[in-house]
Amino acid sequence: SAGGGKRRQQNRNRSTQPQDGSRGLGPAVADYNSSDQKTACRRHELFVSFRELGWQDWIIAPEGYAANYCDGECSFPLNAHMNATNHAIVQTLVHLMNPENVPKPCCAPTKLHAISVLYFDDNSNVILKKYKNMVVRACGCH
């Protein structure tokens, strides 16, 4: 399409010699395989510590939980390396055509798990509760 011409030209100038498998696949792939890999959408570890929050007097178990979070770029081509929805791929294409107006897809959780928490209430009754969708097991582009 006519829209991204200037940007594609810039990409072409930026790209170095494509290496091995990416030869012939175009500048975007070559770019991705180098520096973009570090900023690609992926899961990062983040532990929420109930102990650090000073909550041991009312939370019996666990001491904390690995909540994790998703962060990174959702750049073309999505399906080559990560868990992306079909719509995210369409969104990427539309973004490529109209980068000023259409954002890239979001890096967000694709698989979430539950945890159980055991705690006292104000009356010293004990509650065991299952919380769904508390732990990020996998990230992807939406």
Partner: protein
């Protein structure tokens, strides 16, 4: 930190200010569905029977989740963690698997009375069920009493333990009751479980009807000639509030969410 223990460039690595820390705590409390941080007063700083029982349930759930993630056995097996009141039956495991929330209740009152006119001992128990979050429905509830082996005088006897739901109190005569009963040997030792699901449902729906439970014991001996004689709960070996921490009576209820919770914007 990311997986390689490197600080992610997008991560804010600075110490939070006091008000920011407070806000962060509020947000995490909100995720847990709590309006404020609970301030419990557990006695003696040690866990009694109810937290020990709940910890047993927690460990069961956690081990199951771990096994599921690791693809190992996905079948419940009761844990033997004496002297804590462990899960005893497969029926309980079914309650647990089906429950969104399990809650144990502290016994608020325990008066032992002797009605001389009727020559009857009985013990009163009260539980506060008014703090249950909205939208939670009781699927099962149990009243748990620990029974110790009693002295030689009763060794070969059986007892009839009667648990009553107090239905209505009257100023000048005995209250109206709903009866649950259990026959057991004097020499038996362990946890007695009484199904009080219907009673708890009534208490949740209508807190004004929560007049507690009453327990009485009488001899029903195969050996004793005194069948039907009312005896004190201590004589029968029933542990009370003044007994060992891990043997104190409590109530446990299993809940299922009946409504969709939507977190409101703050």
């Amino acid at each position: 930190l990311d997986g390689n223990n490197e600080v992610h460039p997008g991560f804010i690595h600075r110490r939070l200010r006091t008000h920011e820390k407070r806000e962060m705590q509020k947000e995490i409390l909100s995720i847990l569905g709590l309006p404020h941080r609970p301030r419990p007063h557990p006695p003696h700083g040690k866990y009694n029977s109810a937290p020990l029982f709940m910890l047993d349930l927690y460990n069961t759930i956690s081990n199951e989740e771990k096994s599921r993630v690791e693809g190992i056995v996905d079948r419940y097996e009761p844990m033997q963690t004496t002297p804590s009141p462990s899960l005893a039956t497969y029926q309980e495991s079914a309650f647990l698997n089906d429950a969104d929330m399990v809650m144990s209740f502290v016994n608020l009152g325990e008066n032992e009375l002797f009605l001389s006119g009727q020559r009857r001992h009985h013990k009163e128990f009260k539980f506060n069920l008014s703090q249950i979050p909205e939208g939670e429905a009781v699927t099962a509830a149990e009243f748990r009493l620990y029974k110790e082996c009693v002295s030689r005088a009763f060794r070969n006897d059986t007892f009839l333990v009667k648990v009553y739901q107090v239905v209505k109190e009257h100023p000048h005569r005995e209250a109206d009751f709903f009866l649950l009963e259990r026959r057991l040997w004097a020499s038996e030792e362990g946890w007695l479980e009484f199904d009080i699901t219907a009673t708890s449902n009534l208490w949740v729906m209508s807190p004004a009807h929560n007049l507690g439970l009453q327990v009485s014991v009488e001899t029903s001996g195969a050996v004793s000639s005194e069948t039907g004689r009312s005896i004190g709960s201590k004589e029968a070996g029933l542990a009370g509030r003044d007994g060992a921490l891990e043997k104190q009576p409590f109530m446990v209820a299993f809940f299922k969410v009946s409504e969709v919770h939507i977190r409101s914007a703050r």
